[in-house]
Amino acid sequence: MIAMARDAEQARRRDRRAERATERAGPEPQAGDRDDDIVFELREVSVRLGQVEALSGVDLVVRSGERVAIIGPSGAGKTTLISLLNGTTAATRGEVRALGCPYGRASARHIRATQRRIGTIHQRFDVVAQLRTVHNVNAGRLGAWPFWKAALSLLLPRDVPRVREALAQVGIRDKLHERTGDLSGGEQQRVAIARVLVQQPEAILADEPVASLDPTRGLEIMKLLLDISAESETALLASLHDVDMALDKFERVVGLRDGRIVFDKRRENLHDDEVRALYAIEQPPGSA
């Protein structure tokens, strides 16, 4: 009985998925539309955090070199989506694959090896204020270093030329030995980006990377991320509060609301109405 019910449920879900696919006429097939350049793949993923369904039935495919913006009102599930992709949150249902690694089934070693190839940048920078910049940048290589090297580096910084190069790339060459907490917000975010740079990732995830910066600094940081992504053909997936920035700078935009993907389109096919509807405040039931 139970098996039959489950089959029926699966069939229903398949139908729904097909419907949704036709509805939204997702991203156009690209030149190299093969499976081996898929960076992230989500199939029917739901995440339940306590009593809240943070994401429900999300399908998403991101290919290498793509630059994707995720927009949506607060609480739409943007942060959960990002943490799903770097393997820090587990899916309650469905499958998440990053760089071919199925997080739900893979061994801890395999997951760590995959996480090493994905760089993440956070809204709150998440750099360690008490450490000097050089250590915060080197923290990007912890996955590749054995413990003794990591510990030694705190006393005698290792691989300084590489750190210097990364800092030069993000435009704060002279801050190598400063205490990170003494830097300004924009500079701290640059340190976080430099940390991702030395990690040499195959995909970059950015969770509201500019939300705590003023518009001008934010734009600079965003340009920096886009340049890095373009130069190294790295996939970039960023959640953004700033809709205009998303529409201006990204070729693909995903709209998220109440844990569901509302649209997933190339920029040129996206209407202003759709964006407005995404952020519309829901009328309470019963009011005219």
Binding site: T88, G143, A150
Partner: protein, 569 residues
């Protein structure tokens, strides 16, 4: 003191949530009445056990000696020879405290990481259960070293190593390390986890992510706690001297035996000077640190000279201490040590009962409990009495302008009560116990008085600090309604302070039951006295039983105290 207060708050937070709603409230107030009744009952029982009103407790012939002792306070022995001896002894005590604290920090960091929830929580559900089990296991391992007082550790290590400086270092380092580990694990769990999880998300291993993401922010808190422990370590090092480990305590015991009160006071003044210096240093460091943490740190870039200087001085002190006491770690793995350890463990297992059997053990436990309860009653009442005069209450907020004379009187009262509190807690409990043994027959009372008087000093300062931190807004509102200062005190200050005082008192009770050993060792009775006797009589099997009973007793007190704290909160 801030760190220990936070640790106390942490203990409270982990307790079960209070039952909500009206019925829960009335149940809690009923429970509170029951606890109060129970407190009165056990106090009465303890007094009966102490023989008050039944037996002759006072030794009239000892009173002149008691008076003479305090008269000698004004005339300590100050000739060059004895001062040199005092200085040497003080340096030895300082060296023990420094090295013991250093060892406790090492144990605290490693143990703290291993007992933090952050270390074991891996985020993924599949491994969650295993993490919880490992966490519980690590916590349990640390309970035993924490439950054994440093004096008991000292007695045990004296058997293993003989008269070696390592005895004091290990005896301080191990129990302090276990406490530090507990506090540090709580610090780690309170530290913002985002940088750590960000590194884990980048594929870093747990240990690497820990030293980059979590230790640096928590380390300064830990060091400031280490400085606070250093204050305590100086007192412990002196007390350890009394059981034979050398330093000020050893000289104190020699002078006590020869009844040279002037020498005792010279040594006590040295100890007080040492504690006050450590107190000053540690409070300077902690004030600097909290100023930085409050966001006023933008005053200067880079490192703080006081903090860096303290760190350098600390390292220098460690090196000098090793040289001064001639610490030789080779004794740890020498054949003789192994032989002694083997014999000690072989004799101790299986544990046995002392001559008077199980009933004797139960009686000793009851005596120990009675000592701790009476000590707490004395300590709590005395501290509550001294706390308000000794507190620098937020003035002007609800006091009206008063006459110059009354303000001067208030100031004198303030200074006098502070001074009394300082003296009470500067004299270590075993010295108090030796003093009370002049005028009282051995038994429950001298131990209880010694611990009680010392507790007044410690608890009084804690209570004064908490009275200073009371919320002044309700007091100002009462004042605005036209209440007099006395009425504000009764209706505003006392109700607000009572639950906090009760919580501190209960917390202190947990410390006091452990300290009963200290006064027991010098002859005041209870399990501590029995333990010292059994150890010096090579009856290790019985000593193990006594020790296990003592640990169970402390755990029981911890449990009761936590339960009562939940209802008074």
């Amino acid at each position: 003191m801030t760190v220990s207060l936070r640790a106390l708050d942490g203990v409270e937070e982990t307790s079960a949530p209070a039952p909500a709603g009206r019925s829960g409230g009335s149940r809690r107030s009923r429970q509170r009445w029951l606890w109060a009744l129970a407190a009165v009952a056990v106090t009465g029982a303890s007094l009966v056990a102490a023989g008050v009103g039944e037996r002759d407790v006072l030794r009239a012939e000892g009173i002149p000696a008691f008076v003479e002792f305090f008269r000698a306070a004004g005339a300590p022995r100050l000739d060059g020879e004895f001062l040199a001896l005092t200085g040497t002894a003080a340096l030895t005590t300082l060296a023990y405290a420094v090295l013991g604290t250093a060892l406790s920090l090492v144990i605290g960091i490693v143990g703290g990481v291993l007992t933090s929830q952050t270390w074991w929580s891996l985020g993924r559900r599949a491994r969650g259960k295993r993490g919880t089990v490992s966490w519980m296991l690590a916590r349990t391992v640390l309970v035993v070293p924490r439950g054994i007082h440093e004096v008991v550790w000292g007695l045990i290590f004296l058997i293993v190593f003989g008269l070696d400086p390592i005895v004091a270092v290990l005896a301080i380092g191990i129990p302090f390390g276990a406490v530090t580990a507990k506090v540090f694990s709580e610090l780690l769990d309170e530290t913002a986890r985002q940088p750590y999880s960000a590194l884990l998300a980048g594929g870093a291993s747990r240990s690497s992510a820990m030293i980059y993401g979590l230790l640096p922010p928590a380390l300064s808190d830990l060091l400031s706690y280490g400085f606070y422990r250093f204050e305590c370590a100086i007192r412990s090092a002196a007390v350890l001297g009394l059981v034979g480990a050398g330093g000020l305590g050893f000289q104190l015991s020699l002078s006590f035996q020869s009844l040279h009160y002037d020498e005792i006071w010279t040594l006590l003044y040295a100890l007080i000077a040492l504690s006050v210096a450590a107190d000053f240093w540690s409070s300077r460091v902690r004030a600097r640190r909290s100023a930085r943490a409050d966001g006023t740190q933008r005053t200067g870039r880079g490192a703080d000279p006081v903090l860096v200087g303290s760190g350098v001085l600390g390292l220098a002190l460690i090196v000098l201490s090793v040289w001064w006491i001639g610490l030789d770690l080779a004794v740890l793995w020498s054949g003789e040590t192994w032989e002694h350890t083997r014999r000690l463990l072989g004799d101790a297992w299986p544990p046995s009962l002392a001559g008077d059997g199980l009933s004797g053990l139960v009686w000793l436990s009851a005596v120990t409990l009675a000592i701790s309860i009476l000590a707490m009653v004395i300590g709590f009442c005395g501290a509550a009495l001294f706390a308000f005069p000794a507190a620098n209450l937020p003035r002007g907020s609800y006091h009206t302008r008063r006459h110059v004379l009354s303000r001067a009187a208030r100031l004198v009262l303030f200074a006098a009560s502070r001074l009394v509190l300082v003296v009470l807690r500067a004299i270590p409990p075993p010295v108090w116990a030796l003093l009370f043994l002049f005028v009282l027959y051995p038994g429950i009372l001298p131990g209880a008085l010694a611990l009680g008087v010392y507790t007044v000093g410690v608890l009084g300062r804690l209570m004064a600090e908490s009275a200073e931190n009371l919320d002044v807004r309700p007091l100002r509102a009462l004042r605005a309604h036209g209440a007099s200062a006395a009425q504000v005190f009764c209706y505003g200050v006392v109700p607000a302070a009572t639950p906090r005082f009760a919580a501190y008192g209960l917390y202190r009770w947990e410390v006091t039951i452990r300290e009963t050993v200290v006064v027991g060792v010098v002859g005041a009775g209870g399990l501590g006295y029995a333990l010292a006797q059994q150890l010096s009589g090579f009856d290790y099997g019985a000593a193990l039983t006594t020790l296990a009973t003592l640990i169970l007793l402390t755990l029981a007190v911890d449990f009761i105290s936590a339960a009562v704290r939940r209802t008074v909160r």
